[in-house]
Assembly symmetry: D3
Homo-oligomer: 244 residues x 6
């Protein structure tokens, strides 16, 4: 059930049987020479929509912009500052909580969002804790790629070449979603270095084409279909556990 | 050209021929007994995507959440506070400006966003003005429904029954985009009152089913197709004028 | 009745018969070669004081500083950022609301304030809406020049030469209030161009002497007296309608 | 020279001979059974205007609202939170600094403003200090009542009955400015207690009619005239010293 | 009783007999050629710890960073902006207030903290005052050097050579606490000038070695022992008065 | 080398040989029936001071307050909100960066600080990235308990009974530092449950005496001495790697 395509009466009815919601969150940032700038939003959105098709879980509209400061040397990348992201997440959670939602499961496509979202959750909990109130809210952020099925598929198809940014795994899933836009490019080197980074200048200096440790060239829409299926099952399990 | 489906290299190439971008912005809020909660995002997103298909204009990912405090008595509605929205818009514009974008055309689906976005633009201009700098940035927010073609179609099909919230015009366009989810419901009364409102409690008291002055029941996907075509042409003209 | 010249006991008594208040808001910004930098505050303050003389309406002290970033290339202009203005308006409204005031009518002299004040009102309503409370507050911003009597006088005396900044209309009213300081200057060109603007550098480039579309030279204190009378009547009607 | 009644060209000319400005700041708060709610703004505004009449010192429009949280149990009192006041002062100083003003002399009528203004000055200096820049800005806040002439007059006319809030001194000056609105009331007790206070509830409990240690009933417009003269001379000296 | 070395059960027990707490606050800033950068934290911490040893007064962990923007031209100095300090103080007070603490006595070592802390207290009181609530909180900031015993010792040992920054008084106390780190240096000139300052560049220009009016060279650990004893007695009196 | 006990000249000299600094950060929060409320600050402070004794590494004064909202149902616990902590960390880093420090190693004693500190680092990097500047700053947060030596000792002495809050490991270290205050108490149950938590009410409900999965009763000062030694070596390695 997609919040976007529901009426308020349908949402009211949904709340009588569940107070949980999945909110896809991604980013708008470079994903190397072959990857979509929207990869991190496309992936969790599709996984969530599939889940919504098969179950009665409510899925909220996607948050397309995240914390991506380190990608700003690559054209098209957009960042929200952590404090902006915290303010945005607070407003969204408080709005939905006002209707009776209690379980907020952010299905994430971008590691860079995690600290800010967890800080936002703590900011929300802080208000209850400082006011000596007991908050009914449960907040969680989980990557679509964190479950065992997706991990197994990544290991099977890509092994060490999956890397950590512009991975063939996320590109495969995004190509499965948008085969009409799938791209290819020569990867040079095939597998770039891994490592940490600081600001955008540092990132670009270390990772000139944007990839970290990943051979994006291994991505295919076919593998993406398998990854999607695995992710849907992984997330369904994780979400059920979150609710209980 | 969709930023979401582009690579950073394609974005870099785009910037050599244009520094303008269209950013669809909507909201997540009730649209009466028949309307999608995502109506205000679905409409400008579709108009922008059509425009992108026919031209070389870059379109950014959609902002699905807006300033909708007055709808919070209806389940599923979400608001960003004006100050949150201002912070978010600033970060997005400054990020894109860093790559060389200069013309930011927010294609809007929700009147409630206008004040906050204009305040955000002034906040951005203030920094240049206080620093005695000349800003290269041009910021604009335009509703997809503001042009002459859409107005003529609204007048032709709905006349006074179009109203100002949950209008048959916006519902038609959203049904054209999502015919699989189009809904119908008895409108009672057929045309509810018009008027101002304050907070969510006041809004709901005055407009119990969420509509303001609109007979949503007149919406059809067929009219939506015409409205889409009209809006694409209206917006293309408006955007070209904005660039020049 | 002027809040500034009242005691708290008189204010307490006033609140038993009315919970409405008029708060003049202007700006401190250039008004061309002949206009006072304080024009936008002088005008609504005088209209409000006249109204206060003739009725029992409470008038608060004037807010002399507004959102004027676009004038900062002209010496003496001062801006509050939109977010500062929002914070200020919130504190003032919440303070007065604490005493029982419910209807806040900002009598405005400067178009640049409107977005920020409306955003402030939405920020205030958001708190009630997010907390599922029903706010007793009614907030409005109306320009002293918006009513039919003032419009008719502007049309009669200035027609197309009124323009939109440093208008002979507002200068006339301010000269009526401060005849001792009334100025004259050669207008060159007589009527400068109209149009939009962005930051202060852009504004000054387009409007080198500060006027937009206005022939300030037509201003006289005599017309100002008529405008004042018209504005008082316009605002009285508008305020009564707001209260009811 | 009043900024409010100047043109931008006149301000530009002023800046060639001086870069100092006096900004009156007061508050909107109860002043006991006889005192105007606007007392704290009326007094420094009048002293500044007198100074402006006799010299070429630029005086900015008055800030009528200050930090008055402790008066909020008395109808009509308005407070800006310290952080709001800090934001407002920063914007005003940065705006004027952009034109070349360097010396900002806030002529104060309300002790409650002092901490917030000094914090605002430190906030401004912090930006320069953290950026390893040398700021040209000089910021000062001085009460109109701090000089030796005013102190002597207070001692002469009121002695220990002057107290510290709703003093006969400030009431006298405000009655001199607005004799048409001067009030009288029975003071009971004649001299209320002195002491500290915390929030508004605490203040009202300790000082039920709003006065702290003052016999407001001694106020006269005649003494006000003398106080005004003394204050003008005190402030002129203090301002000259500040400039040098 | 040190909060840092207590359990929560011991704190719970303490709250049954007292709801007051002493919170040492200092700064991290240069103190001339002989003074520790931590002088302003070391001194109140030691005085508070001594007090805690002799009585049952609860002492909280020390705040080592304060508002020191004016020292930033000297390596090692750190500042919190006033608005940051306000936010920090608010969180600490609200946290402790939630457990039942009502009396917050900040024992201060640095004059530069005073405005910001008083602004923080007003910000806290503002919330109660705007909400028409009666706050149980009592907040105070007192320098360890403000009492009569310390003043007498300063007069006795240093007289006019005490000055106002990097004073032999504070250095003596810090040397008494950390004799292993006590330093000496030639003071040139013996007594530097006194006066005001603005930002860090201005401060360093006026006071090249960091001292203001003080002959740091007079500092000895022996005098420090006497000062500590005097301060403990001064603060004990002041704290008891604050509680009552 | 302790910043607190250095002069500015010594700091200036230090910066010629190194631009790195260690900043201990802890929290003020309950640590079960036997643990000090200051445990999380005491531990990293001691490890850092030992390190400073043996090497020439600069150590800054300890941050005693952290993000501890979940402990607020236990008396004495204090939290900074994530956004407050972000502001504080930014000011401290920017202050030290102004003097030439480039490598900021926060030696942490409390897991709850991590998200907020990483968000603060991203906020700092965002400014450089949005301004298209290359930041010289390197920021890191590492727990004193994260290295292999400490892990081995925890495994050796406590195994599964170490748990994750009020661990015998951290208590041992704090007892080693403050043997005079070491406490004992009956642990009931010996090992409480492990798990996640949300706000303070949820935490206390799940962990009534404050411990998570830990048998605090195993703590001894003797083991603390070994842990300290292990931590010093672990951190020395980690810091050297960070610098290079």
């Amino acid at each position: 059930m997609l919040l976007q395509l529901s009426t308020w009466q349908e949402t009211e009815a949904y709340l009588k049987q569940s107070t949980g919601i999945i909110i896809p969150i991604g980013s708008t940032e470079q994903h190397g020479p072959m990857g979509f700038i929207g990869t991190d939003a496309i992936c969790p959105q599709r996984v969530a929509e599939e889940l919504s098709n098969r179950t009665d879980i409510m899925v909220a509209p996607t948050l397309h912009y995240g914390m991506s400061q380190h990608h700003l040397e690559f054209p098209g990348s957009v960042t929200l500052r952590p404090t902006t992201l915290i303010a945005m997440i607070k407003d969204i959670i408080y709005s939905l909580a006002r209707h009776g939602f209690t379980h907020f499961y952010f299905l994430n496509g971008h590691g860079g969002n995690v600290d800010s979202l967890k800080a936002a959750f703590s900011e929300i909990y802080s208000e209850a804790s400082l006011n000596a109130e007991s908050s009914p809210l449960h907040c969680s952020i989980v990557g679509w790629y964190e479950g065992k099925r997706v991990s197994a598929l990544e290991e099977k198809y890509f092994g060490d070449a999956n890397g950590s940014h512009a991975t063939p795994s996320e590109l495969s899933l995004s190509f499965y979603v948008h085969p009409e836009a799938a791209k290819s490019a020569k990867m040079d080197p095939e597998i770039p270095p891994e490592g940490d980074f600081r600001d955008a200048a540092d990132y670009r200096k270390q990772y000139p084409d944007g990839r970290i440790g990943s051979n994006s060239g291994l991505a295919t829409a076919e593998i993406g279909a398998e990854l999607c299926e695995g992710a849907v099952e992984d997330v369904m399990e994780s979400y059920q556990e979150f609710l209980s």
